[in-house]
Symmetry: C3
């Protein structure tokens, strides 16, 4: 790992941005407005941090033109400073080297196919019928089960399990502890006990998806579970069998989708939100944190459930009343009738 | 892995079903009504899919007698087509071979006992005092801690961790990432800091249980945490120390049970539902998704909490009112008194 | 592993407690009041179990002075019997030996530094720049990524993943499946697709913390994610990037904290509770199970959200009414106006 360095002029040219100030400054990293040093890049995206801008020691700040007057240092001007910052910051990310080839401690079945430019880390297990494409990186302890494939330039950080019949697209990033392709939870009740339905489908993960730590995605019962391209899943998300998630949808940590639900494109699912089985959500639906989706949603927009947090004593009084809400409304209606009769 | 093939007559005889149509058809797999080919079995369990039945290309469909008239192909007749399908579909599941013996990359302590017909996969670690019974299959990367046992014909798919004092029954199926027998969360507060209570119990998993991916089951503080037989746990479930779950209970993904709670037999716990500690649930209790059980339940039946999903603007208005619900009810009661006084 | 034995007199002296009864009794374990044998220690902390005390067969019971009269056996007297029990019980915990040195199946990079008194278990992977301090124990299958350090006497039970730039303090205990230092969920939306923000910070875990099975803690985007000392996290907790958790705070299973939230000291977060991003919680705040914190909390105290569990039929009626709560309150207000006008 080596440190990357760029002058402000080089950054401006590479990302098509104007700059104001000293273009010769050498930048070797990024930081917050409050913490960045004279060799670091920072950004101002939300105007409520303008006070931090005026006091920053950053070498260069990417910001909107309207904030130039408050900037005490060199500036790069962008229409969307957060996006511009995201692109530039990637230059300064140091990733450990991933040497081509298979680590001697890895266990690779004779029937697996691994591209010569792929990197297979320590203690990985690659089973029969598995395919690892060009430039894919598998960190330590990944398990690639039978009939699974990992696309070109994909990166499985460490300890990722692809159980069976999982297809991972190009440039997909999967974090440790994720389990993809485990059995869907399919049971039939036979008089007095459960019978398991074999889960004969697979999982298809589109290009450019990201899958968080300890997230689980079950394989389909007959057809596949599908994530279209650029789906972004945070940590500890549960995706049940035969779910279909549209492109560019993002889900926050601990959210969950039950079996056969279909989520549209460009949806945003909040933390610990849930979607019941067999429902459909239109494109561009936002679900706020901890909400439970109990019916299909046909229109884009923001949807919520839950009640507000309160001091426990106040909350107890209100919650106790909720148990009789229907009765209260009936009493209200009766009063209204009486009032009209008078 | 080889493809299994059966004629319709063979299926009818093996499962004690009548058939109507061409009994010589050869079936080599299963599929949905919409997707199955002429060599595949499908099923109709829910009459709302009758339209798909009339258009199916499946080689044979298992269905109720009443749906025979709408079936364009050979049919197998069953009282419960879903259960019959589940049993037949298992014939077509192809599982990778699991050779008897211990993979050379596995690490087995001298004091472990492994049946000669068991299969221990790559990179497994088997510690002292562990016992692996006849025909048990451990996929890659399983860890079997001290004083743990895995019953006959049990299957740990991959990367299962049994920490300590865990007894796994016969034919149990455990999915990747499950952690069983970790310390219960037992703490005592000593003036200004926490003291840990040693967790000296174990975990007992009954025969025919299934445990989902990344599910966690803690061992007991003094006595054991117990799952009776045929308990079915989906992914990412949390079972705290000293919980007792009755036979044939099924829990959906992301649900959780706090310490020392006792769940009855034949219960159904919905996704992301929770049960507080030390409560008792009777047999045949159903808890709907995302509900929180805050008191013991003595009667079978279905129980719920939560409020419905709405458009965010409408929801905000209602949720704001909830904070004053007790006050509104008092105002309602005052109006009623006034009304009577008149 | 050998059995530890102590006389009652030895326990009394070691923990500064008075005893009443036979001080020569030899104690070799602990048990519940109902289950302990004549060579075991039990405790009575909650007076509602006094009936169990009168019938106990335990060799010795630790209890408050006021319960002495009901004790049929030898007693140790403590102001806080639960804390005293916790300390004594630790004497009887048998832990597997952890031999100094590196197991031959472990993979250690040339640039890692491992103390000679540390224990590195089977199949561990220790990457460049990692540091393992004196007496630290890594069970099987731990992965210590680049620039991570594990403090003296810390114990990673098994299968713990430290991804990158993670500092673990002294005596920290981490349970299997925990993933610490994975990428924070940082995304910028660039017209029609997501761009990932590199996560350049780390994670700092203070001394004496405990982290549960399958819990995930992301590393910071620029600054670090921080747990101060003696923070206690149960299983399946999700801590997002740049969260800061104050000393001695305890969080129950399946709770979650979104990005950049700051939790005070001595807080208690209930099971499956959530805290939204960028909020601040004062010291000594308690959040009850399954509550969602949607605004900062400045005052110590107990806070809640949610509605009570009910029989599903009753609940349906009340929940349906919630959707129109604002309207009902308007109707109530109108009635009140009418009533005043009369």
């Amino acid at each position: 790992m080596s440190v990357n360095k760029y002058t402000v002029v080089e950054l401006a040219e590479q990302f098509g941005l104007a700059f104001k100030g000293d273009g010769t400054r050498v930048i070797d990293g990024v930081g917050t407005l409050a913490g960045a040093s004279a060799s670091q890049l920072s950004f101002l995206s939300n105007s409520k941090y303008t006070a931090q801008l005026t006091a920053t020691c950053a070498g260069v700040v990417v910001l909107r033109e309207e904030n130039l007057t408050d900037c005490p240092t060199t500036a790069l001007v962008a229409d969307d400073p957060y996006v511009a910052y995201a692109k530039m910051a990637a230059l300064f990310e140091r990733r450990p080297d991933a040497p081509h080839g298979v680590h001697p401690s890895a266990v690779v079945a004779a029937g697996a196919r691994i591209a010569s430019t792929a990197s297979i880390g320590p203690c990985c297990v690659i089973e029969n019928g598995a395919v690892i494409e060009d430039g894919a990186i598998l960190g330590p302890h990944c398990i690639i089960g039978p009939d699974c494939s990992v696309g070109a330039q994909a990166r499985l950080v460490a300890r990722v399990t692809l159980v069976t019949r999982v297809t991972v697209g190009k440039r997909v990033l999967i974090h440790p502890g994720a389990v993809i392709g485990s059995d869907g939870f399919g049971l039939a009740f036979d008089r007095d006990h459960w019978i398991k339905l074999p889960q004969l489908g697979g999982v298809r993960i589109g290009d450019d998806c990201e899958i968080g730590a300890n997230t689980t995605i079950d394989r389909g019962a007959l057809d596949d579970t599908v994530l279209e391209e650029d789906v972004r899943l945070d940590n500890q998300i549960q995706i049940a069998h035969n779910v279909h998630i549209g492109a560019h949808t993002a889900m926050a940590g601990c959210s969950a989708v039950a079996g056969s639900a279909k989520i549209g494109r460009y949806c945003m699912i909040g933390g610990n939100a849930g979607v019941l089985g067999h429902l459909e959500l239109a494109d561009r639906v936002t679900i706020t944190a901890k909400s439970l989706v109990t019916h299909s949603i046909r229109e884009p927009g923001e949807y919520s459930s839950g009640v507000p947090l309160q001091d426990n004593r106040q909350w107890r009084r209100n919650a106790a009343r909720f148990k009789h809400l229907d009765e209260y409304v009936r009493r209200l209606s009766a009063l209204e009738r009486d009032s009209k009769d008078e």
